[in-house]
């Protein structure tokens, strides 16, 4: 009985510590986003309200509140993320199918290409693309930012798609082929519906990665393309409330994604690790 109690107390303490470490920073964001006045060293703000939220969401315009509507940046972010995701998946689905189902010549070399961007820092890549992009008239444009987002997201798309196809037993396709279905029809009618949940995870992961991309947009997009992360960055120095509002807006999709896909997400999705 003694050890059982000690164990419960230890577990409780661990839980409390974890709770504080995880929710401390998150609650700091939440409190700042509704703080109108908050003087040091008070634990809680003196005056709270939704003024910054309302202004950020375009519901009011008050010169005393240092926030602008986020809808413009939200629109840019959505446009970039939707186009980038569509193009990434257009390339990733055939690539993933080939890697999962065929003996690919030069497979080691091709895999290396898809793994290198994860192993080595990407910032020098963005920096060295900037002069080229400037020459091509892509720097500071939405098209340029979309290209950079595709670069950042493509490897994740290929990994997750490959592993989604691999998870489907090949016998079903062989059965369809043996009764005379064409390769294309087998892919379309048998494999694709079975792999759909995995492909959905891949698509959503790519979408969220693009939505929250910072470094590439910073070098290629600034100061002309303002996505939500760029707006967050530019307000973060001087305006804690407004920056916190944007941070929460960006935090919601990632948290939702975590809660929804807990059960189906596998480690190889994050590192290209087999098994």
């Amino acid at each position: 009985m003694g050890t059982k109690w000690r164990r419960a107390v230890l577990e409780g303490a661990l839980l409390c510590l974890l709770f504080f470490v995880i929710f401390g920073p998150i609650s700091s964001l939440v409190i700042w986003s509704i703080a109108i006045r908050w003087y040091w060293p008070h634990v809680l703000p003196q005056e709270i309200g939704l003024a910054y939220w309302k202004q950020a969401l375009g519901l009011q315009r008050d010169w005393a509140i240092a926030a602008v509507s986020i809808w413009g940046a939200f629109g840019t972010s959505m446009l970039v993320a939707l186009v980038a995701t569509a193009l990434v998946m257009t390339m990733a689905i055939p690539a993933g199918y080939a890697l999962a189902r065929y003996r690919v010549p030069l497979k080691a070399l091709i895999l290396l290409l898809f793994l290198m961007p994860k192993a080595f820092p990407q910032q020098p890549i963005f920096v060295n693309l900037l002069p080229t992009f400037t020459r091509w008239g892509l720097a500071g444009t939405v098209q340029g930012v979309i290209l950079i987002h595709i670069l950042v997201c493509l490897i994740f798309g290929v990994w997750i798609t490959t592993s989604a196809f691999k998870a489907i037993p090949q016998e079903l396709e062989e059965a369809a082929r043996s009764v005379g279905a064409t390769r294309w029809r087998t892919f379309w009618k048998v494999l694709l519906p079975l792999a759909a949940p995995g492909l959905l995870v891949s698509t959503v992961f790519v979408f969220i990665t693009s939505l929250t991309e910072f470094t590439g947009t910073f070098f290629i997009g600034l100061p002309f393309v303002t996505t939500l992360p760029m707006l967050l960055y530019s307000s973060s120095g001087y305006n804690m409330q407004f920056a916190s509002v944007i941070a929460i807006v960006l935090l919601i999709p990632s948290l939702l994604f975590m809660v929804l896909i807990q059960r189906v997400f596998r480690p190889e999705y994050m590192g290209g690790i087999a098994g």
Binding site: T132, P229, S254
Partner: protein, 291 residues
Amino acid sequence: MRSGSSAVEVKGLGGGTVRFLPLFLLLPAVAFILVMYIYPFALSIVRSFTDESGGLSLVNYYKAVSLYGRDILFSIQVAILGTLISTVLSLALASYIRLSDSRMARLINSLSRLGIFLPYVVVAQMMRSFLAPHGLLNVLLANMGLVDIDSPLQLFNIRGLTFGFLWKETPFITFIVLSGLQVIDDTYIEAARSVGARTRHIILRILLPMIKPTIAIAVVLTFCTIVSTFTLPYMIVAGNPTTVTVDIAHRVTYFGDYRVASALGVFLYLIVGVMAVYYLRRTVREEVYGY
């Protein structure tokens, strides 16, 4: 006859068009990576060895070391510190979750996963407000009497930066390690218990050694991520020393100096070098040869 030949074709052994089909399917993705990744990767190395007049030279490396030598060491220090602490924490947390079947352990498991997908830009803003001299952490500590109100903790340096990395990377390693641990059959643990092994021994001598390769990959990826991350140090480290990634941004945005920035980039490649090569070799080998 017909069914036999198509079954062979499904495996990709058929001749003619089929042999090139996989390459054709891979072409768009491979071409994109070649143009948008490999080309600028090679460019960054070439640029780092080029002087103003276009000749071959080490002047960029000389500048990088003399101006930013301290920051190169700082980046290495942060990466080692962050990787080491988050690995130890993750191994302890994952082992605990694997061995305990209480409701609290399940709660701790869900809680520990919460941060996995949060982007660094959000984590950076969170840390910026939480760790500030007048931020929530100092407010709480001051009100508990643990910190002097007039001299709050200064955390916009290596301490705060490491904390931010731990906050983001510990859930990641825990997730990977725990997935590995969950594959291990319960009978190993029961057998060890039945001959009187202590929990500590079960973890250190049985469970963790069985998943060494998984742990290695998680550690390597974390190290590479910490070295590569620009957002977090850029947004929370005040002044010097700072990370190489921040120096690269300064070099480009203030001076338009792509050559020294590229030399600094090559230093980043070298810092992750051994680890990155290990990760690439292992993953490719496993995928291609299956071991």
